[in-house]
């Protein structure tokens, strides 16, 4: 472990894997969305860590990428949870196994 960046990258990889496992394994649609949020956050941690140890941090590239990524993730969460609520109104369930019809 020469560089402090290694620790951050390993933590981000672990966080991404935990989020991916949750998104693949859980039955509930809300839990899948939480898993996706964790994966997006792991990517943000990578952006910030690379920005901090980059040769030109004053260019702000990684920081800006992370800020825009946070904004896009917020939009994604709003639309995703809106979709879950709409499906619940229709099918009275949030279990993904029971959402197996494309026709209402």
């Amino acid at each position: 472990m020469g560089s402090p960046l290694t620790g951050y990258l390993v933590v981000a990889a672990l966080l991404f894997s935990i989020g991916l496992a949750g998104a693949l394994v859980r039955r509930n649609a809300i839990m899948v969305l939480i898993g996706i949020e964790l994966m997006l956050n792991a990517a943000n941690l990578n952006f910030i860590a690379f920005w901090r140890y980059s040769p030109h941090p004053e260019a702000l590239t990684g920081m800006m990428f992370a800020v825009f990524s946070i904004a896009v993730a917020a939009a994604e969460a709003a639309v995703g949870l809106g979709l879950v609520i709409a499906i619940y109104r229709h099918a009275h369930t949030t279990e993904l196994d029971k959402m197996n019809r494309m026709k209402g």
Partner: protein
């Protein structure tokens, strides 16, 4: 990389693990809030104050509340067959193999990574100037995206009454 890094990493990863394994949705939402808080501490630890406080405002203040509202509005009971899908081992295997690939890439490139750098002196003024200068087009696109997402979320979640005609 001192004791603070390991403490924050432990808090964040414990929150994320608890969120993905806890049975009740409300407990999982609270655990993921802990993970979001740990990430904002990471950002502050990396001298990214703006991103850290934006993380607190947006994730703890907005996304966590949104998740809790979605849980309250859907009121799902615990399924009898468990919270994990039947093919959970496949998902775990995919996640573990992806972590193995990512970890291998990080360890293999560890020598090429930059070593300790001096803390960048970036304040909010610089970020504001960059946002309306070099990054003004992405800013406008994000503004449009957020407007569209807000309207879209309201329209999708709106309760449609049957038309009388």
């Amino acid at each position: 990389m001192g004791i603070t890094f390991y403490l924050i990493a432990a808090i964040t990863l414990a929150g994320a693990l608890a969120a993905m394994t806890l049975k009740h949705l409300i407990h999982a939402a609270l655990a993921v809030t802990v993970a979001f808080a740990g990430l904002s501490l990471f950002f502050l630890n990396l001298d990214a104050q703006f991103a850290g406080f934006a993380q607190i405002l947006i994730y703890i203040g907005a996304v966590a509340i949104l998740i809790v509202f979605a849980i309250l509005l859907t009121r799902s009971e615990l399924p009898k067959e468990g919270v994990f899908s039947r093919t959970w081992f496949v998902g775990l295997a995919i996640a573990a193999s992806i972590f193995a690939v990512l970890g291998w890439a990080v360890i293999a490139s560890a020598r090429a990574l930059p070593s300790e750098a001096t803390a960048p002196s970036v304040n909010v003024h610089d970020i504001g100037v960059a946002l309306v200068g070099r990054y003004v087009l992405p800013l406008e696109i994000v503004a449009l995206l957020l407007t569209a997402a807000t309207i879209g979320a309201v329209i999708v979640a709106l309760h449609k009454k049957e038309r009388a005609e």
